[in-house]
């Protein structure tokens, strides 16, 4: 994914800091004052990251957009209460995790119909066509949709949001050991479901 230079500026990023940096305090303070432009800036910084997580909890793009909208509206309303006790990113992703878990609970009964992974709905296909069409990511996302949020969220935070074990533990309010154990179970589950891709990934 391309990084927008102005986003880097807003994040206050220095070389090597990567995705871990928080937005500039001025942006957060302006959001706390209710300034619309600052909201927009914060949205631009996090929109793809939040949407990436939400999309992995939604059966389609429309629902993912709804969930993302909901997250940002909650963020804009809750940001006045942000006191900087934890890193902003950790605080934000706690909102994201809660919203996605709520959505999952709400849709639990619908998942077998709407959330069936693309690969399953399309029926069996040859490994060659999957690899040739660059659809491994689609297959992985399909398998991920079967994982419970307890296993799915740590995987998304680790591999999409590139968080450390400690950061994930802070978001989920659990120990790093628990994070390690859930990641391990999640990855093993993926490996079991996608055993047919062994040697191709």
């Amino acid at each position: 994914m391309e990084e927008n230079p102005s986003v880097d500026r807003l994040l206050g990023m220095h070389a090597g800091e990567g995705r871990a940096a928080d937005p500039l305090p001025e942006v957060i303070e302006a959001c706390q004052r209710g300034e619309r432009e600052a909201f927009r800036e914060l949205f631009e910084i996090y929109k793809d990251r939040v949407y990436s997580i939400a999309r992995n909890f939604a059966p389609d793009e429309t629902v993912a957009q709804d969930v993302t909208q909901e997250i940002f509206l909650r963020l804009f309303s809750a940001i006045r209460g942000y006191r900087g006790d934890s890193a902003f990113r950790t605080w934000l992703f706690r909102l994201v995790v809660n919203a996605c878990t709520d959505e999952w609970r709400r849709r639990r009964r619908l998942v077998p119909l709407e959330g069936a992974p693309l690969a399953e709905r399309e029926g069996p296909r040859s490994i060659e066509s999957i690899v040739a069409r660059g659809e491994i990511a689609v297959q992985v996302r399909g398998a991920l949709a079967h994982l419970s949020p307890r296993l799915r969220i740590p995987i998304l935070l680790r591999y999409v949001e590139e968080m450390s074990y400690d950061e994930i533990a802070e978001v989920l309010r659990c120990s790093p050991g628990t994070v390690a154990s859930r990641l391990n179970r999640g990855r093993r589950d993926l490996a079991r479901r996608l055993a047919h891709l062994r040697g191709r990934v």
Binding site: M1, R49, Y51, T62, Q65, A137, R158, L183, A191, L194
Partner: protein
């Protein structure tokens, strides 16, 4: 007895072990078939997880959020302004109470009634479009662009697809639970105007609502300065009833075979009990 690395194997695969432990695990793995297989399984899982792609958010997302922020402007207001309005509300309270008392007294003397006009003999474009769409639904030949019973989803879809406002509240009175069910939505044309059709059931009977921008219509319903200028048509083909009105720059036509004037369909957008009572009191004013 051989001591396998256990949890350290995952940390080893991820390169998270201190150097000394890493050497120890590497030595063990090179001589242990079981741990080598286990390590390969872990690495395969990691490679799969690394293949999860980041997904770019759609470009329209901010516009949708901004519209909702505008709707919730009070909640998004800065603390200073909120405090100002809080003080203003405090000073205004006695006047508001006075007005409310006067209103209650007036209500007791002259119960308000919603008066609507009879429609002109020729149906307007939006009425014809709503009748056609409704007829298709009744014949089970409706062609939905979005099939859903979720209010938020339909509202957002209509707003994003057509730019038209669809103010259907999410929070519903308990009485709506068995009475109201949304069916779906569709983009249609009224003449050359782009319009949205929203299908829903009230008391298990189909109701069809069509809305378009007033300025896009050749023969728009009159938009009242204060009221919605509602007109009522009965005796339409199929015996359907049509309510038509203009409000906030949009024209609406609602078709159903619900009792009286079909005004019970208005529960879709009106959840306030007083407003609903007023709508129930609807009477056609005949010239």
């Amino acid at each position: 007895m051989i001591r396998h690395p256990g949890q350290d194997l995952t940390a080893f695969a991820e390169g998270r072990l201190p150097e000394a432990d890493e050497r120890r695990v590497a030595r063990h793995v090179s001589g242990c078939r079981q741990c080598r297989d286990d390590l390969e399984e872990i690495r395969f899982g990691i490679r799969l997880a690394e293949a999860i792609p980041p997904i770019r958010a759609p470009g329209t997302l901010w516009n949708a959020i901004e519209r909702r922020l505008d709707r919730n402007a009070w909640a998004a207001m800065s603390p200073t302004r909120a405090a100002y309005w809080g003080r203003a509300a405090l000073y205004a309270t006695p006047f508001v109470l006075l007005l409310v008392s006067a209103g209650v007294a007036w209500h007791a003397i002259a119960r308000p009634q919603l008066r609507v006009r009879e429609a002109t003999p020729d149906p307007t474009g939006i009425e014809r479009a709503a009748l056609e769409e409704h007829d298709r639904r009744v014949r089970r030949a409706a062609d939905w662009d979005l099939r859903s019973d979720e209010i938020a989803r339909i509202r957002r879809w209509v707003e994003e697809t057509t730019g038209l406002s669809a103010t259907i509240p999410d929070e519903r009175p308990a009485e709506d639970r068995d009475a109201l069910r949304l069916t779906g939505a569709r983009v249609i044309r009224v003449g050359s105007a782009r319009a949205a059709m929203i299908g829903f059931d009230v008391d298990t009977r189909p109701v069809t609502l069509v809305t378009a921008r007033l300025s896009d219509l050749v023969d728009p319903p009159a938009e009242g300065a204060v009221s919605k200028n509602i007109t009522f048509r009965s005796g339409a083909p199929g015996g359907y009833k049509v309510l038509t009105w203009g409000s906030d720059g949009q024209a609406y036509a609602m078709v159903s075979d619900l009792p009286a004037y079909g005004q019970r369909g208005c529960i879709l957008c009106h959840t306030d009990p007083d407003r609903r009572a007023l709508i129930r009191s609807m009477r056609v004013e005949r010239d």
